[in-house]
Symmetry: none
DNA sequence: CATGAATGAGAGTTCATTCAT
DNA sequence: TATGAATGAACTCTCATTCAT
């Protein structure tokens, strides 16, 4: 993957020669910016930081992007693009609703471990202009709707326990989105391990199967749901 | 609760009289700041914004806080305080591990619907100085360990399916934390409804009980984990 | 006049004390800026130049004006204000059209010798935003219409030779506006001398009275107006 | 005239073929620059703007001109050249001083309707380096002296009313220079119409002939200058 | 105490100008 | 030759922070 290649060969190498593919340079800038945004927050990342890490000067960035915000927006676009891509693949595959949800969790979890994916969920939307915000919101809503539709399918085909698809989708999305907050590329678990464990936990639930659900007495308000 | 009172009586009223409890004023500032941080991001919120909304002047803020960052840090402290409080209550209660987890979800979900709680999870930690960051991280870690210990208890007392408590805790925490991203005080669902639905979904899982777990063949990457 | 007072006591003195009339300071800034705009052009005048000449710092200017352009616009407003003022006075006075035109020339010429007046005519309108430009244009058009109406009156009451009021107004306005280009406060002629000579030249014409006016017959370039 | 030809065939066409007279290209650049300087002011016109309108790249400009300022200076030179040209012609023609002044007005007015001429009078001299400024001032002074000498001649030969030639020259020059501010090539009046009307107004004056000059009593400040 | 005024440091952005190909 | 890429210098503007009253 290009991503890996770039990781191996640091981004600033894209700028050693003047005659290098501009698209490569553009991506190098985005990668670097995304990383810095995640490390220090968008607000504290200056264009100088970005430039310095790429061994170029600040105005050089303006050959590739019109403004700092455009860089931010492109990170969002790239990230949501990654997600949509896998969603489309999943939606096309046959399978029960539950299977689709599992596949969603798996794919999504993987995206959350790469910088662009993390940007989408971690960066503060308040830093986008209202126009850009609208665009990003549209992407996110599309993703959310997809997940809900999978759950709905599952309820209809009997693979998923009847529930409010909206809330269930939020729970799942939340769990998976959160990965971007604690995942560390150098950490003990691979992205795949995390992804499959998440699929397991969220679809099967925490409660032990084969015995009656426990009596939730004592827990103040938890709805009684046992048989 | 003070919080509710303040909501009814807007924060700036705390400053109408010179003879008002300084602690009240301090809290009013924090509440206002927290709200603005959530609305516009920390970076885009100026102390002028805060002051203006409170009908006071900027330097007046410096009577109550040493710096902008201190305000931010106090928001974090207040939010984590709310969480710890309920955790201690829960830990003291008897019950199975699963029950404790349920109670945790319920309590946590509620905290995520108030501004200070949302700040803890939504604001970008990159805006904290490294010292303050260390402090906040300590709080968060403590919360995370508590949740893991509940899960561990549950595994040991048989109420929870054997699993990696770390990952399970992340899944649950993620789902619940995410509430702060989409919850709207004026929305259709009350905080309590959300909380109990979440407890349900996360403990029981999505998959329908009483039938064999579905065959996830065909779904590209989902690891085959049953039988 | 305030203007004179300020000239005697240099503008930066307005800033020696922190507690000075803000309006005075605002005007001091405007005066200084106007002078610099005339000396170096708007584009080459930096806010630092303005600040330095006033012995204050750059951001202090932003206490009194929202932007550099606002300073420019205010110069225009002040200048056009001076003109309008005298126009209104003149219009009210009785007298033939020609007398009004003379009075106009006289008053206008005087305005062209003070900085704000010079700004109105010398600075490049291209440096105004389109909104501000519209405003300024409105002012200028009003002035122009006034002059034309005086000429029209004169034609009607017989004090002015029949002619196209539009062109005549342009000729007069041009001659007088141009003063701002060559007038030097320290120069040999006082503003009043200039003003009255102009009134003379423009109303009576260059040509010696008492002999027939020459024939400007349609001849394009140098008219051959023989013997 | 080259000027006309270029107007018909837009300037950028000069660059369609590589084998084109470099002088033609140089002029095309100047024409385009002059136009932009007049449209947007020198300060706001970037070399990119110029290049874009000519469909060439920015560094290409540097083949023909050493710097942006050189372009500006060349515009001035071209414009003053046009004026001098006609002045020499006029000076050579026999005729009274008044006739020469008329011819001057006529010729000058025409120059003020073409871009290079307008540049000379409209652009802010503050944008020139001091060296270039000195050069331009020399040109302008020469023109001014010429006009004054015509007036002086007229006074001596009796065709012009005795007056201060300096002031009179300023009045005339001002009126005519100002044309560059309001003249629009597409406007209702042709350059020639304007020119001859101006000659009329300025030489004959506004005041109606054949009756005594009016009594300017009542007009506040007008000096009483009649007998 | 509280405030209007002021500041220093730094951000994003622009642009004339020059390499390097 | 002619150009895309890069730069350095500068400018406007912002904001947390602190005097001075």
């Amino acid at each position: 993957m290009a991503r890996e290649a770039v990781a191996v060969q640091p981004h600033w190498k894209a700028f050693v020669s003047r005659r290098r593919d501009p698209a490569t340079k553009r991506e190098a800038i985005l990668q670097t910016a995304a990383q810095l945004f995640l490390e220090q927050s968008y607000g504290r990342t200056t264009l100088n930081d970005v430039a310095k890490r790429l061994n170029i000067t600040k105005p050089a960035l303006y050959h590739y992007f019109r403004s700092k915000e455009e860089i931010l927006l492109e990170c969002y676009r790239w990230g949501t693009g990654l997600i949509e891509e896998s969603l489309t693949t999943i939606a096309g595959h046959c399978g029960t609703g539950l299977e689709k949800v599992e596949a969603f969790i798996y794919a999504y979890a993987n995206v959350m471990t790469v910088n662009f994916g993390r940007c989408v969920m971690r960066l503060d939307e308040g830093d986008l202009s209202s126009k850009a915000l609208a665009e990003v919101r549209t992407y996110k809503r599309k993703i959310d709707r997809r997940l809900r539709s999978f759950i709905q399918e599952g309820i209809e085909d009997g693979s998923i326990t009847p529930c409010d698809p909206k809330i269930a989708a939020f729970a799942i999305a939340g769990a998976v989105n959160w990965i971007c907050m604690w995942y560390e590329p150098e950490g003990a678990r691979t992205a795949e391990e995390i992804a499959s464990q998440f699929a397991q936990t969220l679809t099967q639930g925490l409660a032990r199967r084969g015995r009656p659900a426990p009596h939730p007495n004592g827990t103040r308000k938890v709805s009684n749901r046992e048989s």
